[in-house]
C-alpha cells in the first residue's frame, strides 16, 4: 500500500468511532488500533517484495500490480474510484460551474463524477454503480497518476 493510501486509511478510521481495524490481502496485513492515548499502526508484508531484496535498489516501494492499485479496497463498506490514466482531474464541467459531485451526494450508475484530461483527451469518469460519495481525494485541476484513488464511495 502506498504511503498516501495508508494516510487516507488512517484518516478514515480516525474520523469514525472505530477503535480497531484489520485488513489483510495477499501482499500485506494492516492493523490499526486506537486507544484513549495511543494509536498503533502496524503494516507487514508476509512476502518481502523482490525489489527490496536487491542490493542498491531504490528504497521506495516497488509499484504494485495495476489491478492491486486500481482497487484499493479501504473498508468492506467502501470502494474506491481510481483514475484510468495519467492526467489532470477536473471536478467541474467548466471553471464557473458547480462540481459534478460533493461529499455526501448519492449518485446513480453512469453519472459523471469528474473529468480526467490527458493531453486534450477528456475522459468522463462515471459511477459504475449507485453509490454515496464518502471522500473526495483529489482537488480540482490537480495532476493524477494512473490508478490513483480519486473518490472513496459507499456502494448502495
Amino acid at each position: 500500500m502506498k504511503l498516501r493510501d495508508l494516510k487516507s486509511l488512517i484518516k478514515l478510521v480516525t474520523d469514525t468511532d472505530i477503535t480497531e481495524f484489520n485488513m489483510e490481502n495477499q501482499e500485506e496485513k494492516i492493523h490499526i488500533k486506537r486507544g484513549s492515548n495511543q494509536e498503533v499502526i502496524h503494516v507487514s508484508s508476509p512476502v518481502a517484495p523482490v525489489a527490496a531484496a536487491t542490493p542498491g535498489a531504490p528504497a521506495q516501494v516497488a509499484p504494485a500490480p495495476a489491478t492491486a492499485v486500481a482497487e484499493p479496497v479501504v473498508d468492506d463498506n467502501y470502494d474506491s474510484v481510481s483514475s484510468p490514466m495519467v492526467g489532470t482531474i477536473y471536478r467541474k464541467p467548466s471553471p464557473d460551474a458547480d462540481p459534478f459531485v460533493k461529499v455526501g451526494d448519492i449518485v446513480e450508475a453512469g453519472q459523471t463524477l469528474c473529468l480526467v484530461e490527458a493531453m486534450k483527451l477528456f475522459n468522463e469518469i462515471e459511477a459504475e454503480f449507485k453509490c454515496k460519495i464518502i471522500e473526495i481525494v483529489k482537488g480540482d485541476a490537480t495532476p493524477v497518476e494512473f490508478g490513483e484513488t480519486l473518490f472513496i464511495v459507499e456502494k448502495l
Binding site: 495519467v86 464541467p93 493531453m119 486534450k120 477528456f122 495532476p143
Partner: protein
C-alpha cells in the same frame, strides 16, 4: 441514410439526367407521394430541382450544404465515413455522436453540421459556430488499445487537420503542443477529444473537429482568449467545405490505419515536423510556477520533451508553452 439522402444520391449518380418519380419510388421502396414530399424538402433546403412531365426530376443546382449523401459519394476510406449523419443545425456534433456511440454506432461514424447552437471547446468554453461557413464534425473511433495510449489520438487528429489545411488551402499551418493548429500564431481550429472508457477498455473515442474555413472577420466574437483566423481570411479564397471534409476524412483514415498497425512513431514524426516550437527556447506555465527549457520533441506517450536550462530532461504533461528569449547566463 435517410430517404432524402438516397434521392440526392440517385441524382448524384445520374448527373444531368431525368429520373422518374416511379423509378425513385421503386428504388427507395417508398410511395410516389413520399418521393414528392422529399423533393419538396430538398427544394426548401435550396436545391433547384426541375420537374418535367413524363420525364421526371432533374437536379440543376446544389446549395452549399454538407449532406451525408454528398460526403459519402466518392469518399475513399476504409474506416472513416462508414456512416455519415448530417444536420443543418445541431447543439454540438460531439453531443450527438456520443448519443449514437452509446447506441452502438460503428467505428468511423461521422456527424457533421452546418451550424452548432452550443459548439463547445475545452472546459465548457464556447466554440463559435455560425451557419454554412466552417466545418464542425465529430468522428467515432473504437480503438482496441490500452487506455493510457488514447491521448496519442490527440496528435493524430492535429496532424490530419494541419496537413489537410496545408494541402487543400495551400497554407503553412503549424501545431502547438499538444493540438492547437496555428497560422502565424492565430488559432484556426479547435479539437476536442472525448473518451468513454473503463480501467482496461476503451468503449469509444470521439474526435471533435472545428475548423474556421470561410468565416469572415465580423463573424468572430469580440472577446477571444487567443488571436483567431480562418482559411478565407488568410488566403482570400473560399474553401469548398465538401472537398475539404472528404480530404480530411481520407487523411484521418490513412493515419488511423497506420496508427493501428505501426503504432505512434509515424504520427510522432509528422507532428514534430509540423511543430512550431521544435528546438526553440520556451517557458511552460504550470499553475504553481513556470519552467524554461528547449523543446526536443514528443515522447512515446505524447508528453513534450523539454531540456531544461540545467541540462535535465523534463516530460511536460500539461501546461501552456510559449517561446521566450534565452537569457545568456555567462
Amino acid at each position: 441514410m435517410t430517404s432524402r439522402d438516397k434521392i440526392l444520391s440517385l441524382f448524384r449518380t445520374h448527373p444531368d439526367h431525368y429520373i422518374s418519380g416511379q423509378e425513385i419510388s421503386r428504388s427507395l421502396k417508398i410511395s410516389r407521394a413520399a418521393v414528392w414530399k422529399q423533393v419538396k424538402v430538398l427544394r426548401e433546403l435550396g436545391f433547384e430541382i426541375e420537374a418535367k412531365h413524363s420525364q421526371g426530376y432533374r437536379l440543376l443546382t446544389t446549395p452549399d450544404l454538407l449532406l451525408a449523401a454528398d460526403i459519402e459519394n466518392g469518399l475513399d476510406c476504409q474506416i472513416m465515413g462508414q456512416s455519415v449523419v448530417s444536420f443543418p443545425e445541431v447543439d454540438s456534433t460531439n453531443v450527438q455522436l456520443r448519443r449514437l456511440a452509446e447506441d452502438g454506432a460503428l467505428e468511423g461514424t461521422v456527424v457533421v453540421a452546418d451550424r452548432q447552437s452550443a459548439g463547445r471547446g475545452r472546459l465548457g468554453r464556447r466554440w463559435e459556430s455560425p451557419f454554412g461557413v466552417n466545418l464542425y464534425c465529430s468522428i467515432l473511433l473504437r480503438p482496441q488499445i490500452p487506455v493510457q495510449q488514447a491521448s496519442q489520438l490527440t496528435f493524430l487528429s492535429a496532424v490530419a487537420v494541419a496537413e489537410t489545411l496545408n494541402k487543400v488551402c495551400h497554407m503553412s499551418a503549424k501545431v502547438k503542443w499538444p493540438n492547437d493548429i496555428l497560422i502565424d500564431g492565430a488559432k484556426i481550429s479547435g479539437l476536442l477529444n472525448e473518451m468513454n472508457a473503463e480501467t482496461e477498455q476503451i468503449h469509444f473515442v470521439i474526435l471533435g473537429i472545428g475548423i474556421n474555413l470561410n468565416m469572415t472577420a465580423d463573424q468572430f466574437p469580440d472577446e477571444l482568449k487567443y488571436p483567431a483566423t480562418s482559411a478565407f481570411l488568410e488566403t482570400g479564397e473560399t474553401v469548398n467545405r465538401l472537398v475539404f471534409l472528404q480530404e480530411l476524412l481520407q487523411c484521418l483514415d490513412r493515419y488511423y490505419s497506420e496508427f493501428l498497425t505501426d503504432g505512434f512513431i509515424p504520427i510522432r514524426r509528422r507532428w514534430e515536423n509540423l511543430c512550431n516550437m521544435m528546438n526553440m527556447h520556451v517557458e511552460i506555465e504550470q499553475g504553481h510556477g513556470s519552467i524554461c527549457g528547449t523543446v526536443v520533441g514528443l515522447d512515446p506517450e505524447g508528453a513534450l520533451r523539454v531540456q531544461l536550462d540545467n541540462g535535465q530532461m523534463e516530460r511536460i504533461l500539461a501546461g501552456d508553452v510559449t517561446p521566450v528569449d534565452k537569457i545568456d547566463q555567462e
